[in-house]
């Protein structure tokens, strides 16, 4: 036992204060349980097929797609922070960069894992690369997400190699050093890829001519939702990063970044959110007054069904859009950590709601004159499978925090000058 503690200790960065091995194990235990449960549920879905879920021919997309879209939006913090640090040279955001990479990696890999369960023929996933239909938004999403996942993994490698034991291997240390010189390139590629797939995830719905609730006019080949999803993703990414960091600080009971970083992330998030809300409002007006009437659908076709009534639309724009934007920008509130985090939370909820509306409400609403409004409750297999993704995220982040230099703490200054 003592040896075990010793070994665990040896992998923790020198001088980094970490909780005892036992406490850490206790912290992980419930998450590991959740993970195993989810893996079992996913196994059921893969073995017996998707009849294990409560999806059906109308709800062909369910909770999985909705939450996948949500966490991919949240994961946008990774590419956006990289973009800010390496492309826009916002050096003061460096302290959260590694953390952002881990968050992004877990979000994306988790989402992809769930997608693999969600499709009816996971073994044919590669068909998308082999017979790509370049007109499909989903093709764009698949290509970009898989590439970007690769980028995230590559960006994660240097962080891993800086683990105290791994770095003792000279080749690792040297590789990490050399590779790090190229990370800005990856950040650029990541930005390019993310720009497209975050947008295409919105395009996914915007192009649904057969679903007037989701269909949007747009520019060139991209419906307006392409730009709205992109905007909302980069707006909420930093907010989510703030929340994760704050949670980490709460759990570990240590200050991990300077308050200034929060301020900056919050401000960026807030400004983008404000722009998003404005664009969203305009888009909604255009859609309700021009796009959908032209195909014979009016507001009462969309908002006369409880509970998905117009209050949802209002909520998405004002309390979960405008309000957080103000909280994150206004100096009065932005100075107070509590308000800042409250704003970030609201912003995340806003994007969550937006993804919910586009995924679930689109399918719940009737199209034919003799359709009904349908509802759907996910089965425990669906919930558990997704719970596993959350658990996976927590576990990976905890392990990374414990054994890898996610934040600058207890080290000499200048450590990151060339190693970021």
């Amino acid at each position: 036992m003592s040896d075990l503690l010793l070994i665990d200790r040896r992998w923790i960065a020198r001088g980094a204060a970490r909780s005892s091995t036992l406490r850490f194990a206790l912290w992980l235990a419930p998450w590991i349980f959740l993970l195993l449960l989810g893996i079992y549920a996913a196994g059921l879905c893969l073995y017996y097929g998707l009849n294990q879920t409560n999806m059906d021919n109308r709800f062909a997309f369910g909770m999985w797609i909705f939450l996948d879209l949500a966490i991919i939006a949240m994961g946008a913090g990774a590419f956006f922070t990289g973009f800010l640090v390496y492309i826009l040279k916002q050096k003061d955001l460096k302290p959260v960069l590694n953390s952002a990479v881990v968050v992004g990696l877990t979000c994306y890999s988790g989402a992809v894992a769930v997608l693999m369960v969600d499709v009816g023929q996971p073994l044919r996933a590669w068909f998308t690369f082999w017979y790509p239909n370049t007109h499909s938004m989903l093709t764009e999403v698949t290509f970009c997400i898989s590439c970007y996942l690769l980028v995230l993994i590559l960006e994660y490698i240097p962080v891993v190699l800086r683990n105290r034991q791994l770095r003792k291997v000279p080749s690792f240390l040297v590789f990490e050093h050399q590779f790090h010189k190229l990370v800005p390139v990856l950040a650029g590629v990541g930005t390019f890829l993310s720009f497209f797939h975050q947008g295409s995830l919105g395009g996914l719905y915007g192009v649904l001519r057969g679903r007037p609730f989701a269909y949007r006019a747009g520019f060139a080949i991209w419906p307006s939702t392409f730009f709205l999803f992109l905007l909302s993703a980069i707006a909420v990414g930093p907010s989510f990063l703030m929340l994760v960091t704050a949670t980490a600080e709460k759990v570990t009971g240590r200050q991990l970044v300077q308050p200034g970083v929060y301020r900056k992330l919050g401000f960026i998030s807030g400004v983008l959110l404000a722009v998003y809300v404005a664009a969203k409002a305009v888009d909604t007006l255009v859609w309700l007054n021009i796009t959908s009437p032209s195909v014979g659908f009016g507001p009462r076709d969309f908002y006369s069904y409880w509970p998905l009534s117009s209050t949802f639309l209002f909520a998405a724009i004002v309390p979960l859009g405008l309000l957080p934007a103000i909280l994150l920008i206004a100096p009065v509130t932005a100075r107070k950590r509590g308000w800042l985090l409250c704003g970030a939370t609201l912003a995340c909820c806003g994007v969550l709601l937006n993804r919910f509306v586009f995924t679930i409400q689109t399918l719940a609403l009737p199209t034919l004159a003799f359709d009904e409004f349908l509802s759907y409750i996910p089965s425990w297999q669906e919930v558990a499978t997704f719970g596993a993704v959350i658990a996976y995220g927590v576990i990976v982040y905890s392990l990374s925090y414990r054994y890898l230099p996610l934040f600058e703490e207890g080290k000499g200054a200048g450590q990151h000058v060339s190693l970021g």
């Binding site: 010793l6 040896r10 790509p132 590559l154 590789f175 590779f179 390139v185 200054a413 190693l419």
Partner: protein, 270 residues
């Protein structure tokens, strides 16, 4: 995807989309490959060890990167920015010219004036015949006492300055002792001998980076302070509270101390 795949059309969409995709993949791939190639070349040109040391040095806590001239009292508090390699330090001459003070307060850790000390707690004794012997200084040996195992390099191994000279273990902890200078191993001693390695240094022999004279006592004093600070961490007994001498085989004496931190600081591991 590829023209030979059923369903491929030579349409604008395909061409633009796929070329963008392949471009991205290419960039990602080439970053990885070039990083690997650079790494390989570093090893081929023997720069790897030094590079490792420099990366490692950068991540040392500031307290462990103080300049030798500070210990000699020639300079105010100054942090080294050249990885302790005074041979290539521009400021060396400037400071070396200044008058120094001797802080030597004998705290029971003896050092010899005719030994040259490396910051990694090894000493070098140049011999007439152009070879040098390398040993562990008293501070380190008292810390460790009798190591459980000692893993010395084979004959004719090329040592690289600040690279790993030899490895030891004590109470399940690995200790990597840094080489004080470059050279070829001629013969090996060990804890029972008074030296560990006899090497033939590379020509031209330049030992400027090693501490000597008054610097050593200042440095050792600082090290002792550091050690005392570390050992008086909450979970360790106040063994040096008396400011007295450093007892031999401290690792066995004070097993509950945070030896990871102590050893890392002692042997310059970040």
């Amino acid at each position: 995807m590829f023209p030979w795949v059923d369903g491929f059309h030579w349409t604008m969409g395909h061409i633009v989309f796929l070329s963008l995709f392949f471009a991205a993949v290419l960039v990602i791939g080439s970053t990885l490959v070039s990083a690997l190639l650079w790494t390989a070349s570093d090893f081929r040109s023997r720069r790897a060890a030094e590079l490792c040391w420099r990366i490692n040095f950068r991540e040392l806590p500031e307290a462990e990167r103080h300049c030798r001239h500070e210990f000699a009292g020639r300079a105010p508090s100054r942090v080294c920015d050249n990885a302790f390699d005074c041979r290539s330090c521009q400021n060396y001459a400037k400071y070396a010219a200044l008058p120094g003070k001797d802080f030597s307060r004998n705290r029971g850790v003896h050092y010899s004036v005719n030994l040259l000390y490396h910051r990694g707690h090894t000493w070098v004794r140049p011999r007439g015949d152009g070879t040098c012997t390398i040993g562990l200084d008293e501070f380190a040996s008292r810390l460790i006492g009798k190591p459980d195992t000692v893993d010395l390099p084979a004959k004719n191994t090329e040592l690289v300055s600040d690279g790993v000279a030899w490895r030891m273990t004590k109470n399940g902890r690995e200790i990597r002792v840094r080489a004080p200078l470059d050279g070829t191993v001629l013969s090996t001693g060990g804890p029972e001998h008074e030296w560990f390695l006899k090497i033939r240094p590379h020509e031209p022999l330049n030992l400027r980076h090693l501490l000597s004279g008054a610097e050593v006592s200042g440095w050792l004093a600082a090290e002792l302070d550091r050690l005392q600070l570390q050992l008086s961490a909450p979970n360790s007994a106040p063994c040096l509270a008396d400011g007295g001498t450093l007892m031999p085989d401290l690792m066995d004496a004070v097993p509950q101390a945070d030896w990871d931190a102590v050893l890392a600081a002692t042997f310059l591991e970040s």
